[in-house]
Symmetry: C2
Subunit: 224 residues, 2 copies
């Protein structure tokens, strides 16, 4: 009589919380995983913990992985000492292979839990510069993980659920509201303070604000 389980990649931001609410609504028993990868805003991680509890996740795992030692991004403390050659094509907030690494660890945990469903809040519309947020990537990832895993080679089938992949921010907010999500405690701001309050000025804050505005919903964000 146990529910079907799923692993949910949960950053604590608007998108991943919507994806968690979506999975809960679909009847999955949820195991959430949050990556502490040296991002500047630790309040995201606390938000992830809050929503994991709120949605009765069976377990919330916080997994530390030090991206700064092999990658560099404006989202983390950059260690550029290993870089021989620099390229100006990579945007400063791009964390190289972030979703690929997150998905791989989430799928490994899922396999250990004997479950085949993994949710990611990846979204191609507002972040089209990130190649690992797009449908064609997620499709190729799903194929690869089924060839390269015990699960896939023993007749199972990993499903990488990406309910938001083709939604705009306004559509995500609309979907979230239809599922009863209260976004007050989600953290999207790149420079949120310790309590998770948003600056209201950065690109991420603007995008989020517009999401509420386009729906004629009041902005639930807590600002500094």
């Amino acid at each position: 009589m146990s529910k079907k389980n799923a692993v949910i990649i949960l950053s604590g931001g608007m998108d991943s919380v919507t994806s968690l609410a979506y999975a809960v609504n679909k009847g999955f028993g949820c195991f959430s995983i949050t990556f502490d990868y040296g991002q500047k805003s630790k309040s995201e991680i606390r938000a992830a913990h809050y929503y994991s509890k709120f949605y009765n996740c069976k377990k919330h795992k916080i997994f530390q992985i030090d991206f700064s030692s092999f990658s560099s991004s404006a989202l983390t403390e950059a260690d550029k000492s290993v870089i021989d050659d620099s390229s100006n094509k990579i945007p400063s907030t791009y964390v190289s292979m972030r979703n690929i690494i997150f998905l791989s660890i989430a799928c490994s945990w899922a396999e250990t839990l004997s479950c085949e469903d993994v949710f990611i809040g990846a979204n191609a519309i507002d972040y089209s510069g990130y190649p690992d947020c797009r449908e064609d990537f997620l499709k190729a990832y799903e194929k690869m993980i089924n060839i390269g895993s015990k699960t896939g080679s023993e007749g199972g089938n990993f499903k990488i659920h990406r309910p938001l992949v083709n939604l705009s921010k306004a559509e995500i907010v609309k979907l979230g509201h239809s599922l009863g999500v209260n976004y007050k405690k989600t953290v999207s701001c790149y420079q949120a303070n310790e309590e998770g309050r948003a600056c209201g000025k950065c690109e991420s804050c603007d995008l989020r604000k517009q999401g509420f505005l386009d729906n004629n919903f009041p902005d639930e964000t807590l600002y500094i």
Copy 2:
């Protein structure tokens, strides 16, 4: 006039050291990466460091990742507290998604270094039970990483070199010898001692011994 660079996944075992020697022979400037993922035999990591120096790697990175917190395997300290359901199909030495995670971190580092060549000593013949050691997986991985990365989406092309994928252990030893590899300090044994000396009794030791024997080479392994 700088050489083309490559990232080499280097465990310190026979296969990965052969793959490093192969890359050096092909003229690559090598950046080696070794994963400290809670494996019981730490002498492998020292062996990786020894060969990185021996082959003049530009950098040897030791990257810690705690597999025991999301996976369970006889190769690591198992934390089974998160397991809801157990399956008897997974062999005890299988580490769920190990090569997928290693490749993803190696490719992330490669992208940061602006290089597109990654070497892995994966080998399908002797470890056919491991789905992430096979050619079809590596092909799917290569496709996925090029779709999901900046490198691939900006016209670059990651190449996942797998020079040993279809070689038997005897053929690997033969290739290594043709490249001048001395295997004395490589560690293959699952229960090597602190100095890296092998037990001579486990499955991995047997396989390695046979590799020398089939070539009529003296066994270079240091035993306890």
